[in-house]
Structure formats: C-alpha cells, structure tokens
Symmetry: C2
C-alpha cells in the first residue's frame, strides 16, 4: 500500500473497503515547474483531491482578459480540494493551478473522491473544512486588492525609492516601510512575502532587493 | 420545544442531550430594519448560528475607510454561520451583518453552537459546507469587482442613458443591455438584481427605473 495514505487526516475514519478504494485509485505524480495542472491554461478541468508531497503549486483565478490573481500557494504537506470542484456542487468558480517548483503530488481522482465524500461524513467534513480555510485566505487577498490596493501602494513605494536613489537595494525595515506607506507592519510583512513569492523582490533582514522592476511597474 | 428546531438540517443527527441543549439555549429574535447585528457598525462580535425565519439580512465587509462590499443577502429559510466566526478557527475575516427588512431570526448562541460542532460531526459538516457555499458566492462578487468592474460599467451605462434621454426610465431588455455593455445576459441579470437589492434601481419587465442617481454615480 502507498505509505502516504495512512497519513491522510480522515484515514482512520475510512472503512476497509474505502481504504482499499483509495489505495487502488490514488496515484503519485511528478510535475515539472511551469506545468498547468488545472484550468484554462492547459490543465485538466477536475483533477481530484491533491496532497502535495514536495515542491510548490500556485492557485489563481484568471479573467477573460487574461489577468491573474494569485489566491494562495501550496507546499509540502498541504491539501487541495478546489482541484476537485466538479464534485463540490457548492463551488461554482474555477480555480487555476500551476506548478511553481517541481512537485510530487498524491492525487485521489475526482470520481473516487466523490464516492468517498458521499459515503463518509469525515471525508466530507475534511473537504468543506479545508475549503472554508481557503475562503478565509482568499478574503484576505481580495480585501487587500479591493479595499487597500496595497499591492499597488507598496509597488509604487518601492519604485519611488528606486527612482530616488537609483539603487535596487532598499535598506529599510518592515516597520519603516509600514510607516512610509501608511500601513501596518504585518500587512507589509505579508505583502513583502507575496512579492517575494512572485519573484518581484528579494527580502533579507533590513533590506529589500528589487528583482523585477517591470513586474512592479505592472502592478501600479 | 421550539417548533423550528426539528427543521434544522442536522437535527435528526443530534443526540437527545444535544437536542435539549439546543432547545434551552436557542432564541428567536425580532430585529427591525436598519439594525446592525454583527460587526464594527454597532453589532455584536460573534452572535452564533442564525436561521432566518422572515425578513432579510445583508452580509458585507467594511474597509477601514468605511467602504462596503455586499457579499450576499439572506432571506427566509437561509442559514448563516459566518456570524459564529469566533468559533470557526478557519475564518479570520470579519463579516458585517445588517437587517435590510424587519427580520425574525432563530439564534443558536456561539458558545452552544461551538459545543455542538465539537461533539457532532454532522453539525461540523453542515457548518463548513455552508461556509463553502458562501465562499463560492463571494468569489463571484469579487471576480466581478476585480476583473470586470462590471458594477462600474453597468452604472456608467445607466447614467449615460439618463443623460442622453433625460429620463430615469430605461426601456431596454436585459439582452439589449448586455449587448450595449459588451457583457453576457446572465451577468447583467445578476448585477441588475444586485443593484435593485441595493435600492439603486427598480427592475420590471423590459424597463429599468433609476432610483438613486447619486448611488449610481458613486459606483463609477
């Protein structure tokens, strides 16, 4: 049996029959960075429940005009159920999923996962609980964009510093950046983390290094 | 016993003890239109699980600057668990809740509801399933605002028609409005429904009546 399966949070609540079904149907896939797993960009429409073993995936939404909004990133140990949205009647939006770092992913295919959700309340509960957690994460992203436009504000600030000093290294603490952008330190910290994940900047103790000036410009 | 309780979706899965707990702790409250039930505007911080018996509530988020985004509306028969977010560790954002039409609401207080969620997997599952459904609704609202700015586009279109004809009645079908705004009929239908809920317009067969020109102007 696949040695990962017993680590699934709902494993101990499965019947032997359900465990066997999981075992024969689940697969461990390797995906190279750059591959689209899910959605309009070349991925499948409904992959199943994913358990990321290594690497990194990025979940995003895509507008008709091709604009992307990163919702969250998934790393080793994380689960994803939005990739099984075809069996979740509650989820009517489409999530895109791409590989940002070479990844190894355990996949329980949608058909089988749907059966498990139907027959087992613990699988169902696990699924909706995880979706609820993502809801909260996504709300943070959305509030930032809609209310604060803080991505824009922070990018503007970094570019202004670059033009002022002519240097791509900004020697400021997060506290100082928060003050300068009229924001809170924890908001700055989260956005810096996001910018770094997007390859726009590099963040070290007390210094921000601008890596992608065009990318920053595109945010403003 | 409160005659509404047995209609709760998870009722048949409660133990007698849990049913008794529900019965002694739940209350049916009447709230007048205009009252804030939840959040920064004068409501409580964590009310509990709500079951709307009559009337209408509006769920929204509020920026520090006072900007509101309506997430969804709840009518007779609907449930709300975001109003019990203090006992949902997954939910880290704050929802505001106001009464838009005189309402009668069954409330299971957060403390008791938290106990039920802990002891009963069906209550837990119901809660997260409902939150997942709201997730999907909210994503639609967010996508409209971030990607399409269709609220803005539709408001602009209505105001342009008003300035063109000098009349607050626009005689057009949703199909015709969709064509004029370069959109899809179903998107127009949903946004018209939202504008009407917000009191900005009135919608009748083949005619839109502009009720709040300032409100429409504020959207653009």
């Amino acid at each position: 049996m696949n040695e990962i399966l017993p680590k699934l949070p709902f494993w101990s609540n499965l019947s032997q029959e359900e465990k066997d079904l999981c075992d024969v149907s689940s697969v461990t896939n390797r995906y190279p960075a750059g591959q689209f797993l899910l959605g309009d960009c070349g991925g499948q429409q409904c992959l199943g429940m994913l358990h990321i073993l290594s690497g990194e995936l990025r979940a995003f939404i895509l507008s008709e005009e091709g604009r992307e909004i990163t919702l969250f990133r998934l790393g080793a140990g994380d689960y994803c159920v939005l990739s099984a949205s075809c069996i979740l009647s509650q989820i009517k939006f489409e999530t895109q999923l791409s590989v940002t770092k070479d990844a190894e992913v355990l996949v329980i295919p949608s058909g089988v996962y749907g059966k498990l959700m139907e027959s087992n309340i613990y699988v169902r509960c696990f699924t909706y609980e995880l979706a609820t957690e993502r809801f909260s994460t996504v709300m943070w992203v959305m509030e930032q964009i809609i209310f604060f436009g803080f991505d824009k504000r922070l990018a503007n600030f970094f570019l202004a510093e670059y033009h002022r000093t002519g240097k791509t290294e900004i020697h400021m603490t997060q506290e100082e950046i928060a003050e300068s952008t009229n924001s809170a330190r924890e908001v700055v910290a989260r956005m810096i983390h996001q910018f770094a994940s997007d390859g726009l900047i590099e963040s070290r103790r007390g210094v921000i290094i601008l890596k992608d000036l065009t990318g920053l410009q595109n945010l403003t």
